[in-house]
């Protein structure tokens, strides 16, 4: 089966900053995958390259087998991205925004699906409200809805719960988990590591543009537990993350993806 996302030897430099350095990873279809790292680690750069918002200096990136540069029409249709920044078009209502986004992807007469998304994200009552009038949390919901209007098989959420309340987080994860169960591949970046631990089957960690860990969530936790030398302490992903980020060796911990391990 072709991978949902494949990155092979991706490097990207912004002036003197090496944003990504020879990053390779493969995300299988149907996975719930976590992409973690501190600020400036290269997560958003990698997502931007996958989405065609930025061009890699070297390497090959594909989405559902489609090269993000050479076959961008196909790769972009396969991908839905929730951007990190809270951006919106102040001229339009929520419904207009979603209809336009659907139309950009060439999907016409899509109101049934748009209505369904709005129900799941609790946006129905705001359908005819101008984007400017929405709260930050509501705008975040619209961003999620925009990424889903064309029913992409691969969904990338770049810190979707940053600054949103508990209620939205829970309803959002419920909806995203359902999409994952329906077969959508989910790629999540977040600083809330308890969310990643609870949701993601596999996790990659980036540090200063380099891939420093790539394994199943359970393997990462198990390895850390072994390092604790049977003290009986149950580590969580935050401790694993801190330990890997403080590790100066930069060695990549890698195992095959879910289903092949």
């Amino acid at each position: 089966m072709i991978p949902a996302i494949s990155a092979e030897h991706i490097s990207k430099r912004f002036g003197k900053l090496q944003a990504l350095s020879d990053v390779s990873l493969r995300i299988e279809q149907g996975e719930f995958f976590g992409l973690l790292g501190p600020n400036g680690a290269g997560k958003t750069t990698l997502i931007s390259i996958l989405a065609g918002l930025s061009k890699a200096d070297s390497g090959l990136a594909t989405v559902m087998g489609a090269d993000v540069q050479l076959d961008f029409m196909k790769s972009r249709r396969m991908l839905g991205v929730v951007p990190q920044e809270l951006v919106f078009d102040p001229f339009f209502t929520v419904r207009e925004t979603l209809r336009f986004q659907s139309g950009y992807f060439g999907v016409r007469n899509n109101d049934d699906w748009i209505d369904e998304i709005m129900v799941h994200l609790d946006l129905t009552s705001k359908a005819n409200s101008n984007m400017r009038s929405l709260s930050g949390g509501m705008k975040r919901r619209v961003l999620v809805a925009q990424a889903l209007v064309h029913r992409p098989p691969v969904i990338v959420l770049d810190e979707p719960t940053a600054g949103v309340d508990v209620e939205l987080r829970q309803s959002l994860w419920k909806f995203i988990s359902r999409l994952n169960q329906d077969g959508h591949t989910i790629v999540l970046t977040t600083h809330y590591l308890e969310e990643a631990e609870a949701l993601c089957q596999r996790i990659a960690m980036l540090k200063q543009g380099k891939l420093v860990a790539l394994d199943t969530t359970s393997n990462l936790l198990e390895r850390h537990r072994a390092l604790q030398k049977n003290t009986g302490h149950e580590p969580d992903l935050e401790e694993v993350f801190m330990q890997i980020m403080s590790d100066q060796s930069g060695a990549i911990k890698n195992t095959p993806p879910i289903g092949q391990a």
């Binding site: 918002l53 001229f91 899509n110």
Partner: protein, 258 residues
Amino acid sequence: MQPAFEYASGFPTLLRKEIKRFYKVAFQTVAAPVLTAVLYLMIFGHVLEGKVMVYDQISYSAFLIPGLVMMSVLQNAFANTSSSLIQSKLTGNLVFVLLAPITHFEFYSAYVLASVFRGVVVGLGVLLITLFFDMPSFQYPLWIILFAFLGAAILGGMGLLGGILAEKFDQLAAFQNFLIMPATMLSGVFYSIHSLPAIWQTISHFNPFFYMIDGFRYGFFGISDVSPWTSLAIVGIFFVVISVIALRLLQSGYKLRN
């Protein structure tokens, strides 16, 4: 898992969005420029009527009307693409278009066609209201339409270039105030270049805006400073040059996909 849709082009939606964007603020984007042009006609027409005769048998107000219409078409076509793109860039919502499977040609066509639409709407508004003041003849309507559409498309393309290159609003304002505005005002809107000193006549021939307005005016009166075919050739070449530059920048993602 494969998506559940048959996909069409994103171009019609982007075009519709760009038109709807200026329609939502039509008081600012249509009514205000029409009022400005009418004020020009009232002031210049009143002051200079009877004192300036550019072409025989044609009053100054009648001469002025096509120039004002074309000036409005050009300035508003430029404003539409440039303001839309710079706003989307600076607020970040351009990402929604950049994430979509829209080719650089579709992107360019949608933005430029929307600017042509706004330019023509404003131009028609100016023409309809100024007809209450004086009535130019309509000798060759096809020339009028041709130059209006080509001129608007060129300025739409230039607005797109300005929007791509500018990183701040004041950079775009400089582009507009120090390039577009002087080139438009010095293109023969208010006068025939035959009334200028020889040196300025020569300089005017290097201003592509002059050919847009002269060709447009030919459609009304059947009289022009240079042959309409010459104007058409120069305007056509200018359109191709602007389009090629804009398309290359869009294709490379310059200052957009970074």
